[in-house]
């Protein structure tokens, strides 16, 4: 009997189809239809470009957690103003356009493209470059004014870059944002100037309220520093942290987590942070494959689920997977947070004290025991929360009373002081971009021309290149992710990032390759 004699058998697909959405081609950035599916308990995004073929990327490496997270989703808030009109559809109208589903919890202003390092990994594609830009005070003021017009009472402004601390006017920028009444001003830095310039740290600390420091901090091992940052920066990080402690600046450590590089350091970084007097939290970010980065496999990338599992595996005496609760203000798979009370080796996650899930589940939970507790938890589980800042501490005080039965003021002071925050935030890139998530984004890039562009759209759709070109006056190629499968067509840009040979001048097309503007007949 030969194969030809056998009756033909139908076979099942390897994936469970979940939903239909939109994304972009990672090469030409044209908008394409996309599918989300599950294979072997992992969630993937699949899409096809008419010109460049099909692409698949890992969204979440634990399907069960992914689906459980979906109930942590709340109605968005409409900003006071939007800056653009709906013309071409998401993600080509940023922004924000009236179709966007959420206001901005955090606005980031990139003040320059220059950096005192040339790291192998940089989503902003910064470095010692002659053709970048450096914002003026007028630029920053117009960006802040646009943000205030949109938000009324903005929660957080982050100054980033480039490396913002080497901008000659950065202290004035921070002062300006503070004077304009921004609730919390943060500085996103590699820490080198903080390590070497005590007077600079003192100048920042003299601003009232003090700005908060987002310190890039990828690990405690020398090898990690070499792989991600190109040199051993451990001494500089230590000096920066000590200066911050000396002048009372509170710090969140921000590790970029890359597969096979520093996943094993996730637990040790938390342990280190808890022991340092300046550090109030850690914000893990799976490496964003935008800008400049090492070659990667999009189906093997690190996701929030990997960070959460790694923490539970590496610090089992302190944390469980269930201690991390998705943030309901943005799309819930983008960011998860936990808080813990910490005193030496004693660590008690907040989720063990209060049923946080019951308060932040807006979909299946029908009875709300206490609206005050929910409001406080909403603020703590958001992109604007920053442990060690006045607004966030105040929310903890409210919780202490309402949820834990603790009502003595002395105890409450101790409570906020002993809180440690752990965040994992997975930013989207040109491979993983899902407009469903993007439309609910609450972390935005504010540009000097007054646009408020969701951070993940800014990095992957072409807005970053557009803004850099406008501000620097030099042509900027469309960047393409440095994925293993695209290596044959990639060439290196003058900034170290990648593009394709014919990519110069390629811009997002307004035309979808499927399903746009045509009926069947």
């Amino acid at each position: 009997m030969t194969n030809a004699d056998l009756p033909r058998q139908k076979v099942d697909r390897a994936e469970v189809f979940i939903e239909y959405t939109k994304s972009i081609c990672p090469v030409c950035k044209v908008v394409v239809d996309a599918r989300v599916h599950v294979r072997e308990n992992k969630v993937f995004l699949w899409k096809r470009c008419r010109e460049h073929g099909s692409f698949e990327a890992l969204l979440y490496s634990d399907a069960e957690l992914y689906f459980d997270s979906l109930r942590f989703n709340k109605p968005g808030t409409i900003p006071l103003e939007t800056q653009t009109a709906v013309e071409r559809g998401c993600p080509l109208d940023c922004g924000l356009c009236p179709d966007h589903q959420q206001h901005s919890c955090l606005g980031s202003i990139e003040v320059n493209t220059a950096c005192n390092l040339d790291w192998p990994v940089c989503f902003a594609d910064s470095g010692h470059q002659p053709d970048g830009f450096s914002l003026t005070l007028a630029h920053v003021e117009s960006a802040l004014d646009a943000f205030i017009a949109a938000e009324g009472d903005p929660e957080v402004v982050m100054f980033s870059g480039g490396e913002p601390t080497i901008h000659p006017h950065i202290v004035e920028f921070v002062q300006l944002a503070t004077d304009k009444g921004i609730g919390l001003v943060t500085l996103n830095t590699n820490g080198i100037r903080l390590a070497h310039d005590r007077r600079f740290v003192a100048a920042l600390a003299a601003i009232d309220p003090k700005p908060r420091i987002y310190l890039q901090f990828d690990g405690l091992e020398e090898a990690t520093h070499h792989k991600i940052r190109g040199r051993d920066l451990r001494a500089a990080k230590a000096a920066a942290l000590d200066h911050c402690a000396e002048f009372g600046l509170t710090v969140i450590l921000v590790p970029a987590v890359e597969r096979g590089v520093n996943e094993h350091e996730i637990g040790p970084i938390v342990r280190f942070g808890m022991a340092h007097p300046a550090v109030k939290g850690v914000a893990f970010q799976p490496v964003t494959h935008s800008g400049r980065h090492v070659p990667f496999d999009p189906t093997q990338r690190v996701t929030n689920a990997d960070v959460i599992h790694a923490l539970a595996d590496q610090l089992p005496e302190w944390f469980r997977v269930s201690d991390f609760v998705p943030v309901p203000c943005c799309f819930p798979t983008c960011r998860s947070i936990t808080y813990a009370l910490v005193d030496g080796d004693q660590v008690v996650p907040l989720t063990r004290l209060i049923d946080v899930e019951a308060y932040l589940d807006y979909i299946t939970n029908r009875v709300m025991p206490n609206p005050d507790v929910r409001q406080a938890l909403e603020k703590l589980w958001s992109a604007s929360a920053f442990a060690g800042s006045r607004p966030t501490d105040a929310h903890f005080d409210r919780l202490g009373c309402a949820a834990c039965g603790i009502d003595r003021p002395a105890v409450l002071d101790a409570l906020a002081e002993k809180v440690f925050m752990i965040v994992t935030q997975d930013f989207q890139d040109a491979y993983t971009l899902n407009v469903k998530q993007l439309m609910k984004c609450c972390v935005e890039e504010i540009t000097p021309d007054g646009r408020i562009i969701p951070f993940c759209a800014y990095n992957s759709v072409g807005y970053r290149e557009q803004v850099r070109e406008e501000l620097s006056g030099t042509a900027v190629p469309t960047l393409v992710p440095n994925s293993v499968e695209l290596q044959p067509v990639l060439i290196t840009t003058r900034y170290g990032s990648k593009t394709v040979a014919d990519g110069n001048g390629t811009r997002p097309a307004s035309r979808d390759s499927t399903n746009v503007g045509k009926g069947l007949r």
Partner: protein, 292 residues
């Protein structure tokens, strides 16, 4: 678990009053939060579904505490609820909760003793009692009272601590004797036998040991959190108490202690359609306080 020491030598009346008082203290609120029984409101909903409650039915909540269950049953299942408890301050909080939710026309609370319920025979469609049966000194009498106030075909829903005293760690056994909810907890089979003796037949019996484990975990974490934030000491020997919670957690892991959901039913009488009426409040010795 309580600020007052409940010693084994206390008489039944003292124990009941003590137990009710203990559940009213701030220390208990601190440790147990909103949920006064393992499984919280999630398990309450499961119990309500197992009782097959229908809108308009009349339910008795025995040892109702501050009224969370009574209000939930009224809001989500559309039933009328009478709650009884021995703790007057719990009852005051329960009435305030019902009033706040505009449920005071459907949810009423009374001072009352489980062993001498202030209600007429056969007036309730269902009786619920969460984490309380184990504390009743005369369980046979309480079971008989449940059966008495239930209409034919009505159901009793109980969730409670189970304990196999023969396998209990000796260190914990000493403490267990002084903790209200463990002092007289029994294996699930004994509860079933007590209920069967008064003619209540098992419909559902399912273990929820994980709910007890989660509650012990929460208590332990709240104690540790208190240790972290209390700058001037916590007022008791934290390490000793944490050793007890660890022993309790082991007891649950080893299936020595657990938590059981049981639904039992009173046999139906000859099929008639009975008019639904609100139970008439009796004038027994325990019914000093009426509803709103």
């Amino acid at each position: 678990m309580t600020e007052r020491h409940l010693v084994g030598s206390a008489g039944p009346e003292t124990l009941k009053a003590c137990c009710a008082a203990a559940y009213e203290t701030d220390a208990v609120a601190l440790l147990l939060g909103d949920s006064y029984h393992p499984g919280g409101l999630t398990l309450t909903r499961r119990l309500a579904r197992a009782l097959e409650l229908r809108p308009g039915q009349v339910v008795l909540d025995v040892a109702c505490g501050p009224g969370a269950t009574a209000c939930l049953l009224a809001e989500e299942f559309g039933v009328h609820v009478d709650g009884v408890d021995l703790g007057t301050s719990s009852l005051a909080r329960a009435r305030a909760r019902a009033a706040e939710r505009a449920l005071d026309d459907r949810v009423r609370f009374h001072v009352g003793d489980a062993e001498c319920l202030p209600f007429d025979d056969g007036v309730f469609d269902a009786v619920v009692s969460e984490c309380a049966f184990c504390t009743f000194p005369d369980k046979a009498r309480a079971a008989a009272e449940f059966a008495r106030v239930l209409r034919p075909g009505g159901r009793v829903g109980i969730t409670d601590v189970t304990l196999d005293r023969t396998r209990l760690d000796p260190g914990l056994a000493t403490v267990a004797g002084s903790i209200a909810c463990l002092a007289d907890a029994r294996p699930a089979s004994e509860y079933a036998a007590l209920l069967a003796d008064v003619g209540l037949a098992i419909v559902v019996s399912e273990p929820h040991d994980e709910a007890l484990a989660a509650m012990i975990d929460q208590i332990e974490n709240r104690l540790r959190a208190l240790g972290i934030v209390a700058t001037e000491g916590v007022g008791f020997d934290l390490d000793t108490i944490l050793r007890y919670t660890a022993a309790a957690a082991r007891a649950v892991a080893d299936s020595v202690a657990g938590y059981q959901l049981m639904v039992v039913s009173r046999p139906a009488a000859k099929p008639t359609t009975t008019a639904r009426t609100m139970p008439r409040r009796a004038t027994g010795p325990g019914a000093a306080s009426g509803g709103s």
